[in-house]
C-alpha cells in the first residue's frame, strides 16, 4: 500500500514542479513599443499654435558631440516628420518658418544595440569527448563559461517642443516631450514604418491638451 502512495506522491510532485515555473509569453513585436509623453502644465498651448519642423532628424551618437552630426535616413525622417505634421495640423496647429513659429519641434533619434550572452551546454555536449550533463566549461583566464552572443537593436525617437519666446541665456524651455521606444531589427521596413506611424499617432492621442 505504501509503495502505491509513494508512486502517487512522486508523480504529483513532478506535476507541481512544472506548475511552479515563471510565466512567460512571447508577444508580437509591436507589444514591445512604448510611448511616453510629458508636458509643462503651466504652458498655454492653445495660445501658441504655430510650429516649425526641421527637414532632417539628427541621429544621436558619439560623433554628435565630436564632429558633424549624422542623420536618420531621409525616407524614414520624411515619414516621421510628415506624421508629426499631420497630427499637429489635425489639432489645429499651423506650420510656419522657424523665425515666426512660437514652437520649434525638434525630433531626434537614438539607436542602441543590446547584446545578450547566452550559453547552453547541450550545443556541444552531445559530441564533446568525456562530456557528462552538468559539467562546466573552463575557459582559460575567465573561469566561467564562454558565452554565445546574440543581440537586438532598439530605437528611440524623441520629439521635443521648444518654446522660442522662453529661451534664456542658458536654457531652452521644453514644453512637451514625446518619446517612442521599440525594437528595430524585427520585421521588415514596412512593419517598422507602420509602427512608427501608429506610435507617433499615439503620442498625440494621449496628449489632448495640445488641441
Amino acid at each position: 500500500m505504501k509503495k502505491n502512495h509513494f508512486k502517487i506522491i512522486f508523480w504529483f510532485s513532478a506535476f507541481l514542479l512544472l506548475c511552479g515555473c515563471y510565466p512567460q509569453e512571447n508577444g508580437y513585436v509591436n507589444e514591445y513599443d512604448l510611448v511616453a509623453t510629458n508636458y509643462d502644465k503651466e504652458f498655454n498651448f492653445s495660445a501658441n499654435k504655430t510650429y516649425a519642423l526641421p527637414d532632417s532628424i539628427v541621429l544621436i551618437g558619439d560623433q554628435t558631440l565630436t564632429g558633424e552630426p549624422i542623420f536618420v535616413d531621409q525616407a524614414t525622417a520624411t515619414l516621421i516628420l510628415n506624421q508629426i505634421r499631420t497630427n499637429l495640423n489635425n489639432y489645429g496647429w499651423t506650420e510656419t518658418d522657424s523665425l515666426n513659429a512660437a514652437i520649434v519641434l525638434l525630433p531626434s533619434a537614438f539607436k542602441n544595440t543590446n547584446v545578450y550572452y547566452y550559453y547552453d551546454w547541450s550545443y556541444w555536449g552531445w559530441y564533446y569527448p568525456g562530456y557528462y550533463p552538468g559539467y562546466g566549461w573552463g575557459y582559460p583566464g575567465y573561469g566561467y563559461p564562454y558565452p554565445v552572443a546574440t543581440s537586438y537593436q532598439t530605437g528611440t525617437l524623441f520629439m521635443q517642443m521648444t518654446y522660442k519666446a522662453g529661451i534664456e541665456a542658458s536654457s531652452v524651455p521644453v514644453v512637451w516631450t514625446g518619446v517612442i521606444n521599440g525594437l528595430l531589427n524585427s520585421g521588415g521596413s514596412s512593419s517598422v514604418n507602420s509602427r512608427i506611424t501608429s506610435t507617433i499617432n499615439q503620442a498625440f492621442t494621449q496628449s489632448p491638451y495640445l488641441k
Binding site: 506548475c19 511552479g20 515563471y22 512604448l34 510611448v35
Partner: protein
C-alpha cells in the same frame, strides 16, 4: 440544506479502523490555485493556475490539534491589453505583462473536528509568518521589479478524506494576507488547494 447537513454528518460519523494521530507527522503536498482580492485583484484579476503548497503537521496534545510549518508558492499573471497609464503630467502607453509571486512561510496551528477514525476530517487553522512577494511589471523593453518581505496571516479551512491508514486526500482553502510595508501595498489572495496528506515514513 438539511439534507446536506445529514450527508456531512454521516460522512464525518463514518468511522475507519485507523490508529490514533497523536504524535504523528503528516506532510501535505497540494496543487494550489489562487485568486487575488482587493488591490491585488485590481492589479491582476486572472485566476492563478500555477502554484503548490507543502505543509508539515504534527499532532500534539490530542488527535485533533496539529502544529506545523507551511510553504506556498502561487504565481499570479496577466497580460494587460494596450493601455495608457497617467501619473501627473506624464503618460505612458504600452502592453503590460504583470506577474506576482507570493511565497508565504508560516507556522501553523490547525484544529480538526474529527479524529483519524473518521472518513472525513474537517479542520480550520491559522498560519503566521513572513510572506515573500516578487512583483514584475514588463512594459516595452523595460521591467519594474519589486521584491519584498511582508508580515502575514493565513486563516484556512479544509477537509481530509481517508484513502488509507497513511494517506488522505486533502482539500483546502486559504486566505493569505500580507500586510503592507513602507514600500509595498498589502497583498491578499484566496487559494484553493487539492493534494495528499501522508505520513512520510
Amino acid at each position: 440544506m438539511k439534507n446536506l447537513y445529514i450527508i456531512l454528518f454521516l460522512f464525518i460519523a463514518t468511522t475507519t479502523q485507523s490508529v490514533a494521530q497523536l504524535g504523528e507527522n503528516y506532510l501535505t503536498l497540494q496543487y494550489s490555485t489562487a485568486l487575488g482580492l482587493g488591490s491585488t485583484h485590481e492589479n491582476i484579476s486572472k485566476m492563478a493556475w500555477r502554484g503548490f503548497s507543502l505543509d508539515y503537521k504534527r499532532f500534539v496534545a490530542s488527535d485533533l490539534v496539529a502544529v506545523g510549518l507551511d510553504f506556498n508558492w502561487n504565481v499570479l499573471y496577466e497580460k494587460k491589453s494596450y493601455d495608457t497609464y497617467t501619473a501627473g503630467t506624464a503618460s505612458l502607453s504600452g502592453t503590460q505583462y504583470r506577474s506576482l509571486n507570493v511565497l508565504p512561510f508560516m507556522a501553523t496551528f490547525d484544529y480538526f473536528f474529527a479524529d483519524n477514525d473518521h472518513v472525513l476530517q474537517p479542520f480550520i487553522g491559522l498560519g503566521v509568518g513572513p510572506v515573500h512577494t516578487i512583483e514584475n511589471i514588463d512594459m516595452g523593453l523595460y521591467r519594474y521589479n519589486n521584491k519584498e518581505w511582508h508580515f502575514g496571516l493565513k486563516p484556512q479551512a479544509g477537509v481530509w478524506y481517508y484513502l488509507n491508514e497513511t494517506t488522505k486526500l486533502s482539500l483546502s482553502s486559504e486566505f493569505i494576507y500580507a500586510f503592507k510595508t513602507s514600500d509595498t501595498a498589502k497583498r491578499e489572495l484566496l487559494t484553493f488547494n487539492i493534494g495528499f496528506a501522508f505520513i512520510p515514513y
